[in-house]
Amino acid sequence: MNTDLLIEIGTEELPTHAVEPLSLAFAQTLLTLLDQKQIDHQLHYVFATPRRIGLLIKSVASATPAQMIEHRGPPKSAAFNAQGAPTPAAIGFAQRFNIEVQDLATISTEKGDYLIYHQQQAPLATETLLLGLIEQALNGLPIKKPMSWGAHTFKFVRPVHWALVLFGDKIIPGKLFEQKISNQTRGHRFLHNEFITIDKPEHYAKRLFEQGYVVANFAARKNLIQEKMTALAQAHQLHVVVDEDLLTEVTCLVEWPVALLGQFDPRFLSLPPEVISCTLKQHQKTFVLVNAAQQLQPNFISIANIESKDPQQVIKGNEKVVHARLSDAAFFFAQDKKLTLEQQLSKLAKVIFQQNLGTLLDKSERIAGLMPIIAPLLKLDTDTMKHAALLCKADLTSFMVNEFPELQGIMGAYYAHYEQQDALIVSAIREHYQPQGANDTIPYTLSGTALSIADKIDTLAGIFALGKRPSGDKDPFALKRAMIGILRMIIEQQLPLDLKKLFSTALTLQPVTINHDAILSELLTFAWDRLEALLREAQFPAGILQCVTATGCTKPYDMYLRLTALKEFMPKIEALSLASAHKRVNNLLAKQSGDLKQVVNPNLLQEDQEKELAQLIHKQHDELLRLCQQQNYAAALLRLAELKPTLDAFFDKVLVLCEDEALKQNRLALLRQLNALFLIMADFSHLPVAP
């Protein structure tokens, strides 16, 4: 017979980051434990509020199934003596189950016959197992900072005040965290501060909602908040800006959400909208509102946890705090504007970027130092970009960024705009921290892109120069993210930048003595690992990257174009031919040593097939160079594909490692030329095609 199971752990207010994850983890662990015990069950529902971790599982089996357990005893050969009487080993095995040796069965295996016993295991009642399973699930929760309270020795996420475990209509006896298990939950801390008896598990959410002023289901509460905000905003011809993270956080802070509309002094609208949003979101956990034209309005929505006897008092209280916070922000903004970004630079000279890599001013100067090799290729004015580089970190010492670190760059742009810097400089400063993560957009403007690339190149070069490259999962400087950002910007914006040149220059600018070539090579390896990951995401075949790294090309966009052409080319029959030819060439050449002949002597070419190959290589060489310089790699591949019949014939008929040393050396020289020809485009020997 199956019955519903309800579990609720009542706690003091949980940390917001724990509310939903802990409830989900509890459900998942307990369900796994039930499955391990083969206790059948149906759907489950997770409840999560600031004061409760809850779980309802429908139709849980009342017992584990009956089971047959096979125990293996001694081998038959050791179980009976020569007379056929049981040995002590056999008797001992039988005694374990309180039976006689003759009641045991035998089993034949590859290793011989063994005594076995089939033990019938009776079903275990779920209700006797539940407490243990629940304890096990609770103890296994991923609590970031477990705490103790009172004089207890156990720990949990927050002190526990009640425990409800109801299986059908039966209370599971026992204690959890010293709290006697009951069928009673509690209502809202202020609106219904009383016990509520739950008679059936399925009534839980309904009772809490109807009597307790608690919306126990997380998603339902989240939706309710959103609906209430939308309705309230609409009633005032406004639109609420729903920040998903904030909505989740607020859902974790309330059991009975009530949306209240507050106002602030419109004069604060002269502050940058990002500042207002940050202030309201972070400090007050309130939502901002816009009009139909998406302009920020002097209003906010606060989600209270109470149907107040006098909502005006709650609104007035929130307005007062918002006013104080915005006054602070306005004060900071005004203070910051008293100094120009250039004047702020002297403060940057006192902030260490990284030990042994100098101050943030030093870093800014190094970024500027990279501009001569970046700006012209992006058709930007070098001096303007150098100036942007010098100013880009100046906002880090501003009051505002000190208060809201995530406004770095954004505030700098506002200050640059305020002091009438070039528009290119403003956008460069604003965008130069982008992209912040895998899903973040790259800078929209070229000046932002140039500055972002230079900043990240310098960070990578500097940290690698200190020998602090990421290892395993440890990447405290977020260098992987930085490298992926650089590659994405170069490829998506189709920039002709050369990573080797950028890193090489950046390394020479670092204030530490290093083995330049070794670190440069480490940086490039690191770059290609990240590029490999990007290619995998873009459905490129694994291993294809080596085809282009082997050519010595270090321009990511150019590499990307070659790879795209190769990917298209791969299914063709000629691809296989070129790949196997290039592999053979490499094998033959790898075995050679000593003074290698580079030039082919036409007079030593004997066979038609080698003459033809030599002619074709000669004919194709310049054409291929031209096509590759135009980055017309599809056409280049078509040209190379034309080699197929000649190549096939050559390897079919011509013996390269022949007896005659002069002929042999000449043929090897021919292969070297062929190799060089291939490498103008790619190393086909790495092309991941099956022979």
């Binding site: 980051h17 705490m147 103790s148 009172g150 004089a151 002190p159 202020f190 802070l253 007035k316």
Partner: protein, 294 residues
Amino acid sequence: MALYRMDLQTPQTFQDLIFALSHFWAKQGCVILQPYDMEMGAGTFHPASFLRAIGPKPWSCAYPQPCRRPTDGRYGENPNRAQHYYQFQVILKPSPLNIQELYLDSLAAIGIDVKTQDIRFVEDNWESPTLGAWGLGWEVWQNGMEVSQFTYFQQIGGLPCHPITGELTYGLERLAMTLQHVNSLYDIIWAHTPNGPVTYGDLFLHNEQQQSTFNFEKADTTLLFTQFEHFEQTAAKLLEEQLLLPAYEHVLKASHTFNLLDSRHAISVTERQRFLLRVRKLACAIATAYKEQG
């Protein structure tokens, strides 16, 4: 369960607020202490909190404590922030299971109706690098304003706590501003007297102006550095001689000296960490010795 009943006599003045809280917690069995007579950044530095939280002995007390945070000075021009302000501190060891209910009852006792006001417990974990201490808990919000801090100490002076001490810290000015419906802390009525009302500003505005000037502009950094060294050495020496209470007072002096140097921007970011560690090392050594003495 507690009923959060409204007390009929809600405090009208700042001093009434202190009386009401003292009275409430005295009824809960707390020893009502008076402020410690030394500069400190928070009520937690009071030996009745820091030292008494160490070891197994039960202990409950409550006291108002003036706090000094030189960097928070605003020359008396900011309505919410000052370099000298008051906390009301409650220490309950071991923390009773109904500690939140007691706290909410105390709000009722000072005239805060929890069925009208939006009271929230928002996670805020406390850490004091100088005291080698941390705890878990909340800041308590009233209509979006933080009015109290609520902490379960987990570690003090580098030592794990057992039993756990619960600490409640009321921001008296903020509570008074809400209760009295004023927008500046200087407008708080401290007391009604036959000669008329005495405001917080009457008592402390000049102090804020002058102390801010001292903290930010006049404090002699050369002397402060010397004093820091001296307090540190004295604390170490007293610790060796097992004079733990005077040793701890010298840690308090060193800590305040550091705060003054900080407000003079005399300590760079990297040095800052080193100074904090020096204070912390002493605080932890004293805590260990205190525990051993029992």
